[in-house]
């Protein structure tokens, strides 16, 4: 675990750069993380997915995988990969300040 400065704010991150404490998250942190991941601007659509991930995580304690994300977020699998080419579920979880989805599917 290390401390990292993101959007002018000190946050705790794990070895892969995921926030350790989801309450340290805000949209500015998300934007700063997105830049590091090669996404220059977070569009409304990106934010829709990120916020959906967060609300699912808060409600259920785990992040949805790509399949349920495609079924329930209102954004199709195809579009999810256009928004987050480097793995939508993993990346949206990261940018949403929650831990990554666990599971094989």
């Amino acid at each position: 675990m290390t401390t990292k400065l993101l959007a002018g704010q000190d946050v705790e991150v794990d070895a892969e750069g995921f926030l350790v404490d989801p309450s340290q998250w805000n949209e500015e942190v998300a934007r700063a993380m997105a830049k590091e991941e090669g996404i220059d601007t977070l569009t409304d659509k990106h934010m829709q997915v990120i916020n959906f991930m967060r609300s699912e995580y808060m409600a259920k304690g785990t992040a949805p995988n790509i399949r349920s994300l495609g079924k329930t977020s209102g954004v199709s699998v195809k579009e999810l990969y256009q928004l987050f080419p480097k793995g939508p579920a993993k990346l949206a979880a990261k940018l949403g300040g929650i831990s990554k989805p666990h599971g094989c599917i």
């Binding site: 790509i66 399949r67 195809k78 990969y81 993993k90 990346l91």
Partner: protein, 155 residues
């Protein structure tokens, strides 16, 4: 730290339910991690991308010691259907996708989906027999070109 994997090419050669799922899980899992993936269906694995067959894949009850039923039982007509039904209901309970849904989803992730030319010739399949997600019937040489730079996994 080792270099991360950037691309994988997975060959699916078996025509049973348990022969097809592992390759699909690996391809989908690769894409979920941001790794490029190609799927190459060959021999009986082609059933998983065949319009009339991809929804009817069965568990092999003969020559499958992992199933833990005696071969003599496995040959009884209907055994494969029973084993398939049992596994399918487990798959459904775990909320795993069916093979058609899985192949559709993997295509949507941007993975390459290809059929083997030699097998298509052998079975007399044309592009019209195969599902729309198949991007082409390609030669082994073309497969190696597409696989260049990443590991190849044979299942």
């Amino acid at each position: 730290m080792s270099e991360p994997i950037e691309k994988v090419s997975i060959i699916i050669s078996k025509g049973s339910l348990e022969g097809v799922y592992p390759g699909l899980i690996m391809a989908n899992g690769a894409r979920a991690e941001g790794i490029d993936a190609n799927l190459f269906f060959t021999f009986f694995g082609m059933d998983a991308i065949h319009k009339q067959r991809w929804g009817n894949m069965k568990v092999a009850t003969v020559g499958n010691p992992g199933l833990h039923i005696p071969t003599i039982i496995g040959i009884i007509p209907g055994m494969s259907a029973i084993a398939t039904k049992m596994m399918s209901s487990k798959i459904k309970k775990l909320d795993f996708p069916t093979i058609p849904e899985f192949v559709e989803m993997i295509a949507d992730t941007g993975a390459g989906i290809y059929a083997c030319l030699a097998s298509a010739d052998l079975f007399g399949f044309t592009k019209d027999d195969l599902v729309d997600q198949v991007q082409g019937i390609i030669t082994v040489g073309e497969f190696y070109e597409k696989a260049a730079g990443g590991p190849i996994i044979f299942t």
